[in-house]
């Protein structure tokens, strides 16, 4: 369990997350991709903190802030989706994009 191994896993998670974010048509699935990317970031942060930074408290803080970002993203994201859905009944990124009125 070296730092390299951890970062590789984190990179894999970020890669999969990126694929999901780019490929999914629906907002909610797109958010799953984002979450997965942040999951990778989280793992990398903790990995650095634990193995390279000698446990400086700021490292932990970074991880918590990442999680807070996730929470904010989810909360506001779903609120937005609800607002959009209510107004346009759309849950697809494309159908929103083609809408000009």
């Amino acid at each position: 369990m070296t730092l390299t191994a951890i970062l590789l896993v984190a990179a894999a998670l970020i890669g999969i997350g990126l694929y999901g974010t780019l490929s999914q048509q629906s907002f909610v699935m797109l958010m799953m991709g984002l979450e997965l990317m942040l999951n990778g970031v989280l793992l990398a942060a903790v990995g650095f903190w634990s193995l390279a930074a000698g446990g400086v408290p700021t490292g932990q803080l970074l991880a918590i802030v990442t999680m807070a970002v996730m929470a904010v993203e989810m909360s506001v994201g779903f609120a937005l989706i609800t607002a959009v859905y209510r107004n346009r009944q759309a849950d697809m990124t494309e159908s929103l994009g083609t809408m000009k009125h």
Binding site: L13, I16, G20, L43, L61, Q89
Partner: protein
């Protein structure tokens, strides 16, 4: 690091990656949400191995509720939420795969060439206490900002999601979007039982 720890790490790592990948393969929105949760739990367990007990377990409970809420919204807004009819709802598929792989390869390359400092956390460090001290000490500002941001989040999400604005229902006069530019509003009308794949003649 003991052999057991190493083995555990690889099991968790594999779980995290495989379930993270399966998220985008399953048809059921509930399964997708909870596969993502499985990925988070595995990462949380890796954090425990890395000597961050609070962060690891907090990830598990935080993501437990987040993915629960995620599942609620997924089911609410996705057609065919249980995936009874298999579906593919992707666009720019090849490009996305390419981007994903490129990101992985790029990051991995950077990692492999960079020489990271080897400075592991002391095994007797009181990490939770440290974190608490940090929160109330040097990083107080971050902490306060986070608190206020979360309050703003609460207010914003309530405003956005609830129907009863001060100016009447938010959906008044709204029209479903067309599926083709300039087309008829699609909505979810009864005749369209065939779903997404059907309207493109």
């Amino acid at each position: 690091m003991s052999v057991v720890d190493d083995m555990a790490f690889w099991i968790f790592a594999l779980t995290a990656i495989v379930s993270g990948w399966r998220v985008f393969c399953t048809d059921s929105m509930v399964r997708a949400s909870f596969l993502l949760l499985a990925s988070f739990i595995a990462v949380g367990l890796i954090m425990l191995l890395l000597g961050a007990p609070y962060l690891g377990i907090a990830t598990i409970f935080m993501m437990g509720v987040e993915m629960m809420v995620m599942a609620l919204f997924m089911v609410m807004y996705m057609m065919n939420p249980a995936g009874l009819n298999p579906m593919v709802m992707v666009h720019q598929h090849r490009f996305s795969i390419g981007a994903g792989i490129a990101a992985f390869v790029g990051l991995a390359a950077v990692m492999l060439v960079t020489d990271f400092a080897d400075n592991p956390v002391a095994s007797d460090a009181r990490v939770v206490t440290d974190l608490g001290k940090e929160l109330l000490g040097d990083s107080m500002l971050i902490f306060e900002t986070a608190g206020v941001t979360l309050l703003a989040t609460m207010v914003a999400s309530v405003i956005l999601s609830s129907r009863s604005g001060r100016f009447g229902p938010a959906d008044e006069g709204s029209v479903p979007p067309p599926l083709e530019p300039g087309g008829q509003p699609a909505g979810r009308l009864p005749e369209e039982g065939g779903g997404h794949g059907h309207h493109h003649h």
